[in-house]
Amino acid sequence: MSVNYAPILWNRQKKRYDRIMLGLITLYLILFAAFQLLFRPEISPETLIIRATATLAFLMLHLILMIGPLCRLDRRFLPLLYNRRHLGVTMFLIALVHAAFSIIQFHALGDVNPLVSVFTSNINYQSISQFPFQVLGFFALLILFLMAATSHDFWLDNLSPRIWKSLHMMVYFAYALLVMHVLLGVLQQEGYPAGFIFLGIGMVAVSSLHLAAAIKGKRQEERPEGTTADTFVPVCRVDEILENRAKVVIIRQENIAIFKYDGKLSAINNVCKHQNGPLGEGKIVDGCITCPWHGYQYLPENGQSPPPFTEKVATYDVKVMDGKVYVNPKPYPEGTTRPAAVIGV
């Protein structure tokens, strides 16, 4: 969150995140190389690099896909989310090394353009067992490249959040392509049964976590019934909301986060203007509602980012009666100041 773009948004936590990530990557590469050299001493350096980067990038993609649902299931995983962008770009660079070495090793020694050779060296497109799996990897890499290349906030602002989000949701298509790339290529050709098991575990983990998070999300989307005469809707008791935290409700398609702070309650739209992050899963830091995804901030009483920032979200009327919280789901224009409901009055 800045007035002008910074090349890389680093803070103390993000630097720590990156250091841990690079440490684990190095550890994985060392262990993988040691394991391969121990059990397959005849392996060439090129093949070792191709296999190490392939397995590492695929493992990282699984982790990236699991972070979102893990955070929805348990807030303790939120620190993993804060710098997922760097994890994604690093994963792409590792996949690029895999692709580059694969093309050099398998396609660069003939008289055909190496990239053309990727598509023409095996033309068994009708066969399942002999399908040219490298083509699938190529298209997956293309998607991962587009995602990495547009990961900076400049692209979010200039492509529009809707297009940017759609582009980045293509990671699931890339994942499907890579599953087929692994299944058809490496596993079938080499007859490597452990690979099937690892791939199966990965697919089950990714899909079951997404399913569990979706079920939990559905349960949390409370839709209170009944309205009072002035269209206020009862939500919960005041003591059900923790200090500096929020209660999220969806009423008549309005996704509302009601925050409790300093003996008051304010309601704003739950969707962050940055990347549609869930503001209601964040907390109030230094008097500002802080998005748990990337730290974008909004003032609770008017839904505006503190100056000089310009992001705004819709606000709603809240009131407290007999220890119960009521919200009017009719949104005010983004950035409209609404008086906070004072608890105990």
């Binding site: 773009y5 910074a6 353009n113 598509f119 023409t120 290349a149 900076h152």
Partner: protein, 71 residues
């Protein structure tokens, strides 16, 4: 089949080559035209947005042209 694929791959490279020329002009002048938040940003930032500019140059070109017409 091979001739067709060679043509497609060559067109792909040609697209990227055009994108490279566009991206150089874009990070020099265009980015500031379409987004004031790129004013006074470092060359490192401009290098970071360059791969995306190479890939998505038709979209950025249309934004740049539209912005120039409005000014």
């Amino acid at each position: 089949m091979e001739a067709l694929l060679t043509l497609v791959v060559n067109l792909f490279f040609f697209y990227l080559l055009l994108g490279l020329f566009f991206a150089l002009a874009f990070i020099w002048k265009g980015a500031e035209k379409i987004d004031p938040k790129t004013n006074d940003t470092s060359w490192f930032f401009k290098l970071l947005i360059m791969p995306g500019a190479i890939a998505l140059w038709p979209y950025l070109l249309s934004k740049w042209v539209a912005k120039s017409k409005r000014l």
